[in-house]
Amino acid sequence: MPPEAVRLLEAMSLWLLVGLALPKRRLPGLRGRLTGLAGGERRWLCAAPLSWGRTAVQRRRLVAESLRVVELGVPLWVVARVLEERSARRRLEAKALWMDGRSALFYSRTTERISEQELSDRLALLGYPPPEAKAMPLLTARRPTLPLDWWAETHSEVPANGEASDEATAESDLLVATGNAVDLASHLPDPNLLSIRTFGRLQLLLGDQDFSEQLLRKPVPAFIWLFLLVRALARPGDRLTRSELAEELTPGLAPERQRKRLRDRLSDMLHGEIPTELATRIILQSDECVSLDLGHATSDFDRLVRISRERNVMDGLLAPDQTADVVDVLASTEAEFLPEWDRLEEQVTGARGSAGEMVRQLRVAAESERIGLLEALAANHLARREADRAASILERALERRPHHEGLARKLVAAYMQAGQTGRAADLQRLHGLES
């Protein structure tokens, strides 16, 4: 044989061997694919043949499978083909089982091929319960409410047995007045004292006048004023420089342009863009610091923190006036802290600054203080052998912190003390507590 022919045969043989024996594509997770095929979970090893699914033409099939042979190599293609065939059979069997099963029945119902009654009957034959009926609220009997003047009379009387009566009325306030803020301003004798309410809806009260709406009409000044407030609440005594404020107001701009914008904005605010009563509280210090003057002002957030800390000083039983304060502050801080902030921040800065995180921390802190106060109130009731009341308070706390194991344990203890062992056992199971 001429040497050229031998060389040609060598080359062809090598090419054929490589072409037919070895795979030509990456096969990540080959073992997983083969296992999936064997179990009927996959349809193909990698992908369907090229012209699969189209009109059946022998020549096209031959080309499609030949391409797969070359792509995978004959040994792997043979294994894949055998497993794909097995997978197809298994899937047919599984499909047949499925079509007689529960899901297919429900699908028939959704496509209105069977009626509700037929669905229930056929589910019963399979040993399954029928679908649940529509959820309906429980019927409650109407009861006449206590007239307001009788309620006021009751609260203004000095109770014969002192402490217990005060706590009872304080307790009913907590259980009934969910989310209703107590009117702090009505208790403030000083008309020049700025009352800042941040929970539920922003209110900036001086006497009986609320300046919050006027402030919120101007998004940028409102952002600046509220950022200063948030900063004062989150980091009392901390110094905020003008460049930090400028960065917060216009993040990403060049420093000179930031300073100019801030200067212009502050100037506008101090010259009538916002109510004077609010503008005069912005302090521009000579050392480039800016702050909000919260002297001669009260805030519900500070009150919450103060009452929570005072509660910690005298642990154990709460004094009657403390109990009233705790109930009062819980009612007035039920809602979310500064709900207007997120939209305002999004509008003014696109939420690119760090202020949002500070507000979030304040919300978390407020929630922690409230949970602490609820726990203290519940402990107070438990100490006075009022386990039912303690349990209802702890239930509310647990709703707000559903994953708090400590609360769950206390609630279990309260239910045990109240004799509701079934409910206590349910809770232990739900929260995975040791018995």
Binding site: W44, R61, R102, S103, A135, E336, P339
Partner: protein, 330 residues
């Protein structure tokens, strides 16, 4: 990047082209370079040719023996190998799963709807899940209206009573559906609704609006699991990266899961990003989903749906008391 449907022919054409090029190189080497020497080749040409012929014969025989696969209009052209879902079990009574779309069109609404239907149908015991869906195309197809809930919330700014449950529409499967209009739900309202909903429903799937950070924070706090629904796109990947950092900072990785929807092949989610999420679920590209959504039907009840199998596995992990029909049959 080529789509999955175009990738298969491209791979095959590429394979053939490389093979032909290899042949051309070998032939050139054989003819011009004076042959492929015996020192390089371990085989002589004859045994190699015989083996090649045997392989070709085997291929023809197998191809002849096995029939052409039956057509299935819903099977994908390319079938990627996806990891099994890893999700935490929700042991709490009436758990809430929050679905948060990382970009529009991720499929959070259809997932929330089908999770609720799946949870109704899969369990051996009676269940009544609730799906809270954002108003959109799917809710229009389902014939749902956000107005009743919107009016209810406006009329109940500080407290919510049980009359809320009358607003939910019962689906024929037994689960119930409520629609949230734009701007209707915020953090405070969610806290008010949740205790009432937990009294009546065994599972709450919330398709959370994404334009309110306060609401998102509250939802993550009160949920038993937050599922971040992403698409295999760079936008979703960057949003997921931001979430990964936030999750790590707050120490809540135990109740956050990444849900990668419409996976057809490779994704821009690198291993380093995926490692930030302990819990994950990968849902394949599935034509059945689009078709079912257009008709307002649940794809989780359709045999042909590849996403159905993944969702069933996910529900088994989330609600451990679930029994599947396959398990019952076994």
């Amino acid at each position: 990047m080529l789509s999955a449907s175009r990738r298969s022919p491209a791979i095959r054409i590429g394979t053939i082209a490389i093979s032909l090029l290899g042949l051309a190189v070998l032939l050139s080497a054989a003819l011009v370079g004076g042959g492929i020497g015996a020192r390089v080749l371990a085989l002589a040409w004859l045994p190699a040719l015989v083996i090649a012929v045997l392989l070709a014969t085997m291929a023809v025989a197998v191809g002849w023996a096995f029939p052409w696969p039956a057509a299935d209009p819903y099977a994908p052209a390319e079938e990627p190998l996806l990891p099994q879902p890893i999700l935490p079990a929700c042991h709490r009574k009436s758990p809430m799963i929050v679905l948060h779309a990382l970009e529009p069109g991720s499929g959070s609404s259809t997932l929330a709807f089908n999770l609720a239907v799946g949870a109704t149908v899969q369990g051996s015991e009676q269940r009544r899940p609730l799906a809270l869906l954002r108003a959109g195309e799917l809710t229009d197809r389902l014939g749902l209206d956000p107005a009743p809930l919107s009016s209810f919330l406006a009329a109940h700014p500080v407290s919510v009573d049980d009359a809320l449950v009358e607003l939910a529409e019962r689906h024929v499967c037994g689960c119930e559906l409520l629609v949230i209009g734009d701007g209707d739900l915020n953090g405070q309202r969610l806290r008010l609704l949740l205790p009432v909903l937990r009294r009546f429903y065994d599972l709450i799937a919330l398709d959370c609006p994404t334009d309110d950070r306060w609401l998102t924070d509250v939802a993550v706090e009160v949920a038993d699991l937050t599922l971040l629904v992403a698409q295999p796109s760079t936008r979703s990947a960057s949003q997921a990266a931001a979430w990964g950092a936030r999750v790590w900072d707050r120490g809540i990785e135990g109740k956050i899961a990444l849900g990668l929807n419409r996976v057809a092949g490779r994704t821009p989610f690198h291993d380093s990003l995926l490692r930030e999420f302990r819990h994950q679920i990968w849902i394949p590209e599935d034509r059945v989903i689009a078709e079912s959504d257009r008709e307002g039907l649940p794809w989780v009840l359709r045999w042909e749906s590849s996403a159905r199998r993944v969702t069933e596995t996910a529900l088994e992990q989330l609600l451990p008391k679930t029994r599947t029909e396959a398990g019952d049959a076994a």
